[in-house]
Symmetry: C2
Subunit: 151 residues, 2 copies
DNA sequence: TTATATTCAGACTTTTTTATCTGAATATAA
DNA sequence: TTATATTCAGATAAAAAAGTCTGAATATAA
């Protein structure tokens, strides 16, 4: 799989929030965990990290939970991926060399620069609101989440 | 990092072979391990897997080693990646859903299809010989391999 | 104030990936 | 034939990622 589970869980949770942004001030992590079938404590840590990355805000206590820090139209998937996979994930040399720059290019550097631009553009080119807008029925979205592939 | 160590080791080893294809019939794994600074026993297993994937042939005993099964001009990086990361790595749904097809597309499916085409084309569009041809001095290639980044 | 619902924080366990070790099988060369 | 160089194969160990548990902190509502 291309993205780690940690990152997929984070992306899905954030899309869930984008779909339910207006329901109330904060959405409990327990609810997200239940609906998206993500282990509660694992999700808690992931969302906590998204908080540190200024993507979510949270509130403790009754009626607490998490919420998007900005409107879904001002957030994108790349922010989430950078926060959860680390900033090097899509930016380091595809052959694993120490630096990646056109000053000391590896044998795949120019190709990778082009492919990477495709990927970065895909993840940052549209907002979470745009992506969530394509989730036609929430039931279909949730249903799909319950079946996980094994690799 | 985008590709696993396993896969990077395999790619580098195969590029090394592409550069030294004509030296002799077989190249000992020990030599590749020494030159590219890859743990010997780990590399042995990786190359064994590339053998099962019909990318390498091998010969045991003195003067044995491994060699490309076909000329470097008839092999590409995608074959190596598929063998070492598994066939799902770049082909499954980017949001981790069970199936990836335009019949049941996720909210990022069409974007991912385009980005994926970029990546697959990058890895399969040119042969190992083409890539190796851009490695200007072997010293620079080897030097770069000795410094590993930490993520 | 008290009970309850929630995140925060870190320790812990399990699983997967990465790496190492050992011995057997096999080919070459002296 | 014998010594040596090598891959093959599987067991084991170490490190990293994924997931679980527990208790503290904090906010709300009765
Ligand atoms: S140096 Fe390798 S991809 Fe840039
Ligand atoms: S269904 Fe998600 S990328 Fe194709």
């Amino acid at each position: 799989m291309f993205l780690s589970k940690r990152c997929l869980h984070g992306l899905r949770a954030v899309l869930y929030l984008a779909l339910h942004d207006s329901d109330r001030a904060f959405t409990p992590i327990q609810e997200i965990s239940d609906r998206l079938n993500i282990p509660f404590h694992f999700l808690t840590k992931i969302l906590h990290d998204l908080g540190k990355a200024d993507i979510l805000i949270s509130s403790r206590g009754a009626a607490g939970g998490v919420a998007l820090q900005r409107p879904a139209s001002e957030l994108n998937a790349l922010l989430v991926i950078d926060a959860l996979e680390g900033p090097h994930f899509l930016r380091s040399c595809v052959l694993g060399f120490d630096a990646c720059s056109s000053l000391a290019p590896c044998a795949l550097h120019s190709q990778w620069e082009a492919a990477r631009a495709c990927i970065l553009n895909m993840f940052s080119g549209e907002s979470l609101a745009d992506i969530a807008g394509r989730i036609e029925t929430e039931e279909a979205f949730l249903q799909a989440l319950r079946v996980e592939r094994k690799d």
